[in-house]
Subunit: 376 residues, 2 copies
């Protein structure tokens, strides 16, 4: 395999099947895979490119941040955004001993999650010394006085030695557009289940292209590392003469915030309604391990589990969970139930590996399904 | 609800629908639920009922053991058997500071698990000061000299202050046989999917009755607490005028041994062959969390994952796992894949909640499925 580092694609000529490179050479191709990824979204405010202002999208960003923190004497950090990358960054900054504030235009962090869980996340931020500043939009960045930088917002001025922008990503589709690839409604490259684009010889995989969501039954944009890996494998297999279909995703994701595990799969109520479902939901707070053992382990908090199901069929549409342990475990288990199209009756009686250190004889999964069943 | 404690059933007269009780009274019934449970199996050796020899089946056993340990000065314990109850007991005895030996007729503990995993369990026993004595059968028990008791085996005499028999359980079917209920090949009461026995008005639930195994497609005997709970719910619902079918089990189970989590679901190769399948299998040793993080957490051991699949269809038949964390999580996830009848192709691309603290972009589940796929 021929790998060219530090080389940019200047132009693609799809009629001739040739790529022109920035080092003056060109390469012929039979098949092309567009894996141009995504770019961190910036709010487009004055001086957002100042030294000390970072996004966090790739390894280069991480190296730059580490270098800056090593060379400068930083006492405080400002994070713009409150999604899972912003939350993970707040923990990293606190671990380094920086005073950390999080600025967000909404009321609560992690808007994809139920407000009850977002409140628990807010409490976890507070308990770990992160100040969450709601209803606040960045307006401009300028030189600080006692700190290196100053963020101007609709809610006052805030000094900081480092500013991290974690406002999500947008697909990189410049090259794709140049060769006329069809772009979906999400702004990402349209692909089929073989990862083929609108041009037969061009495939696409990763953060620059769309992905099929098995529950919404729509093509969406979900730039996550595990999905990109799978799409790449499928594209490669098909180009190599094999035949492989990417089965799609259900939107499973997880993150850690200090002592909390947080995970979700499938659709939330808003997404479900937009997809034509009539969702019902509930939240239970159960024991992540058997209740008899939970009593003797006082550090152990309750596990919150939210299920979302279709009212007419009882089929699971999504799940969210939060707690100090065994949270991702529950969501991954429910992910497969969701993937397989199970309804609440079936989920209420699934055979799980019961043992007191890992759950009760009735797991929170069973209990949540049985309770939500009564709402149908 | 009328509850009679300390009262035994002396006789059931199914023709009259009446139960005669040990307190001289009788009770009429329309429906009867046989929940007579199981009894710990004893090897039938001389003096197996001596003071200081215990089984561990129910709460009363546990209270008796605790009382004995409190009143006597015990320095060492002998455990007969090497299943998961025996293993859990060995940890409990070590936690109490007793010198602990485990005597087993086979070569390795936990015979349901792959020998590779059983060897890891043996190592964990040794690392935690439990001596495992293989190829040893109990012959008799007698009074000890320096200890309270002495176990005579085919492999020499062993002194101990307490002896625990953990040799499995047998269903209690005496009453069931007295009223002519049909007994299955397993020795437990035959039931249908509504928990009804061969007599229309008599139901059964729990350790005394059989259960349908969805993968072997046979009725078997699996006396586990979570199954008993579910069967009871189904029996109650049907007696109460509802209509409910117990969907069966797939044999998911888990236990903890010192620092190891151990879990399995479905069939092992022998069980699969006996059920008419042609199993193929493999074991992988992967990272329970992302490999980049695993390197920085040296206490973290590899996670062993074994998959068993049908050669002709690629359908999953069973899974086993062992490691220091996120083990039950993987088995519960695979349990649902097994329950739903998924094949290795589908399992290799399942959408799990990826985040470095909880797994790699390719989870051990994906990797194991993709590798075993090549053996079909």
């Amino acid at each position: 395999m021929d790998v060219k580092l530090r080389t940019r694609v200047e132009e693609i000529n799809p009629e001739r099947g040739v790529v022109e490179l920035s080092d003056g050479t060109s390469m012929a191709y039979d098949h092309l895979v567009m894996s141009t990824g995504s770019t961190a979204f910036l709010p487009n405010i004055p001086e957002q490119d100042m030294e000390g202002v970072f996004t966090l999208k790739n390894l280069t960003d991480a190296i730059k941040i580490k270098k800056y923190l090593r060379e400068k004497e930083c006492r405080n950090a400002l994070i713009i955004g409150a999604g899972f990358i912003a939350l993970e960054m707040s923990e990293a900054m606190r671990t380094l001993g920086l005073e950390t504030r999080m600025v967000y235009r909404g009321k609560l962090p992690a808007k994809k999650w139920d407000p009850e869980f977002s409140k628990a996340l807010l409490e976890e931020l507070n308990n770990n010394g992160v100040t969450f500043i709601p209803d606040t939009k960045p307006v401009a960045i300028e030189q600080g006085e006692n700190s290196y930088l100053r963020l101007i917002t609709n809610n006052g001025k805030m000094d900081a030695d480092i500013i991290l922008m974690a406002l999500g990503v947008r697909p990189n589709v410049t090259l794709a557009k140049e060769i006329g690839l069809e772009i979906g409604n999400t702004g990402a490259i349209k692909v089929d289940s073989c990862q083929r684009t609108s041009r037969e010889e061009v495939y696409s995989a990763g953060d620059c292209c769309e992905v099929y969501h098995r529950i919404s039954k729509q093509w969406g944009y979900l730039p996550l590392g595990d999905i990109a890996n799978k799409q790449g494998r499928v594209a490669g297999k098909n180009i190599g003469g094999g035949s492989m279909v990417f089965p799609g995703v259900i939107g499973s994701q997880s993150f850690k915030l200090f002592n909390l595990e947080v995970a979700s799969t499938g659709l939330d109520e808003q997404e479900a309604s937009r997809s034509g479902y009539h969702p019902v939901s509930n939240i239970i707070w159960g024991n992540p391990i058997a209740s008899s053992l939970a009593k003797s382990l006082p550090g152990l908090e309750k596990l919150g589990l939210k299920l979302i199901a279709e009212k007419s069929t009882g089929k699971l549409l999504g799940a969210q969970a939060l707690g100090t342990e065994n949270v991702v475990s529950r969501i991954n288990t429910l992910s497969i139930a969701l993937w397989a199209g199970m309804d609440l009756d079936e989920i209420g009686y699934l055979d799980l590996g019961y043992s007191p250190p890992f759950g009760g004889a009735w797991d929170p999964i069973h209990i949540a399904a049985q309770i939500l069943r009564r709402k149908l």
